[in-house]
């Protein structure tokens, strides 16, 4: 199919993209996070979200980057132990502080050098790491 036929006449939306709204997930080693994030930022990507999930005794961290020019979406995925230390992205992406503080407060992710570090005060909740199951604490 030619490229022209993929573009909706009405809206200019690329049908391939429209049909998908998909995210590419790229698994990386936690030591490569900063390097990869710098690479993404240089390419004009925007950090659109970062979140943690707890599954099978491990923490899964997802840093999602959006390419706003082409509506592309890539997630860097790290699978780590609860004790593993992660370097903060705030030096290159200052607003990552909100996501990182959230991951630290809700899941207890060990993130080093967050600036600013709200020290468990972003969320005014009394329970520590509420999203980690009791048996894993």
């Amino acid at each position: 199919m030619s490229e022209e036929k993929n573009i909706s006449e009405n809206t200019g939306i690329d049908d391939n993209k429209a049909a998908k709204n998909k995210c590419v997930i790229e698994e990386i080693d936690h030591r490569d996070l900063l390097k990869k994030a710098i690479e993404m930022k240089r390419q004009g990507y925007r950090l659109s979200q970062a979140c943690a999930a707890y599954a099978e005794g491990k923490l899964e961290l997802s840093y999602s980057f959006a390419d706003d020019n082409n509506y592309g979406y890539t997630t860097l995925r790290l699978v780590i132990d609860k004790e593993t230390e992660i370097i903060s992205l705030t030096e290159i992406i200052p607003y990552a502080a909100f996501y990182e503080n959230e991951m630290k407060e809700l899941f207890g992710v060990n993130i080093h050098m967050i600036e600013p570090d709200y020290k468990n005060k972003l969320y005014r909740i009394t329970k520590e790491t509420p999203f980690i199951p009791k048996e894993a604490e």
Binding site: I13, Q49, C51, Y54, A66, D68, Y95, A97, Y123, I125
Partner: protein, 359 residues
């Protein structure tokens, strides 16, 4: 040397519709820095995945927020449908689009009213909310609910829009368009209103990008981004442009949202005119297994839904990244250098939805 003070702002404050707290570092009535904290009404809805199955989670996500309710249910359904590879019937896609745009309209009217209240124009506030009631009446007629509709389900929708309802929607749109046109000059041309909005809380395009801002807040700074252009639901069949402003100030944010209401009216009219005749929902079998990130355009901007499923009825993880959370960094930046008297108004201009943020 100028004296610096730290002034706590919120969580309970007359201008704040919902609880958020800011520690404001001020120097001679000028804001030097703002440090936010949230969590005063945190409900842990995401962690309910352990207690509710994936079908019940539709109702949970709809209750993340009363204003963006439809979008949350929709985004969650899209994520699960993506994992289960479900093809939603065309009519359901169009119905979802119509209800989503009606939600956007009532959300923007709500914001316009709150903004008017914020700059002390109570009559204008009442006018905006009076017009909004007409949209809520139509939502009540078509879904049975005014703000929480519960019409989404995995695979499609639970209710239809009959030809009589379509006529009622069309009549409401004509009436709302006329009444909005009457109040637009007050927001856009009135000298006292402009004095409160023009040049207040300026965020440049570069700053908005650097701070990861979303939605009308980003578009008012000239960033041409709207997740509806991804073409989910029926958006790929409908004609609309991304509305932006280059002023980057509170006036630009008002301009973008007003024009998005007119745009929603046009989108709904297009969708009603093309409503396909198909089933309302696909048959869903089994449990989801896999993961999906879905992005949609909520009234306040890009919202992200992450669902991770293990093949059982209970999900491993459901995560909602709300636009207000993305706009917190931008808010703190716009507050820098602002007058203390403008703080309330500036918080309103990001259209904060703390319920969403405290999911």
């Amino acid at each position: 040397m100028k004296k610096r003070s730290i002034v706590p702002y919120g969580p309970q404050h007359p201008v704040l519709p919902e609880p958020v707290h800011l520690d404001l570092v001020i120097e001679d009535e000028k804001i030097i820095e703002a440090v936010p904290s949230i969590g005063f009404v945190h409900r842990g809805l995401e962690s309910l995945t352990a207690k509710r199955d994936f079908n019940q989670m539709v109702y949970v996500t709809e209750r993340v927020c009363g204003i963006c309710s439809f979008g949350h249910g929709f985004g969650y359904c899209e994520a699960v449908e993506d994992i289960m590879d479900i093809e939603v019937p065309e009519r359901a896609k169009y119905l979802r689009t119509i209800w989503f745009e009606l939600s956007r309209m009532h959300s923007h009217f709500l914001w316009l009213g709150l903004l008017a209240d914020g700059f002390g124009f109570e009559n204008l506030f009442y006018q905006c909310w009076r017009i909004r009631e007409k949209i809520l009446d139509v939502l009540s007629l078509t879904t049975g609910g005014r703000v929480i509709f519960s019409v989404n389900k995995i695979g499609g929708v639970m209710r239809d829009i009959t030809p009589e309802m379509a006529v009622a929607i069309s009549e409401m749109l004509t009436s709302v368009r006329k009444e909005l046109k009457d109040i637009v000059p007050i927001f856009m041309e009135d000298a006292s209103v402009k004095r409160r909005l023009v040049g207040v809380g300026v965020l440049s395009k570069e700053q908005a990008h650097e701070l990861g801002c979303a939605g009308p807040f980003a578009r008012a700074s000239g960033i041409e981004i709207d997740m509806r252009k991804l073409g989910y639901a029926a958006y790929k069949d409908l004609d609309f442009d991304i509305i932006t402003s280059n002023t980057g100030d509170s006036y630009g944010r008002c301009y973008v949202r007003i024009n998005e209401i007119f745009q929603s009216i046009d989108i709904i009219r297009q969708a009603l005119g093309k409503l396909p005749d198909t089933e309302l929902a696909a048959v869903v079998k089994g449990n989801p297994k896999g993961e999906s990130f879905i992005r949609i355009e909520q009234p306040r901007g890009e919202a992200i839904y992450y669902v991770r499923a293990n093949g059982s009825p209970h999900l491993d993880r459901m995560r909602v990244r709300t636009p207000t959370f993305a706009n917190l960094a931008g808010l703190c930046e716009t507050l820098k250098g602002a007058d203390y008297a403008d703080v309330g108004l500036l918080i309103l201009t990001i259209d904060p939805c703390i319920s969403c943020t405290e999911r």
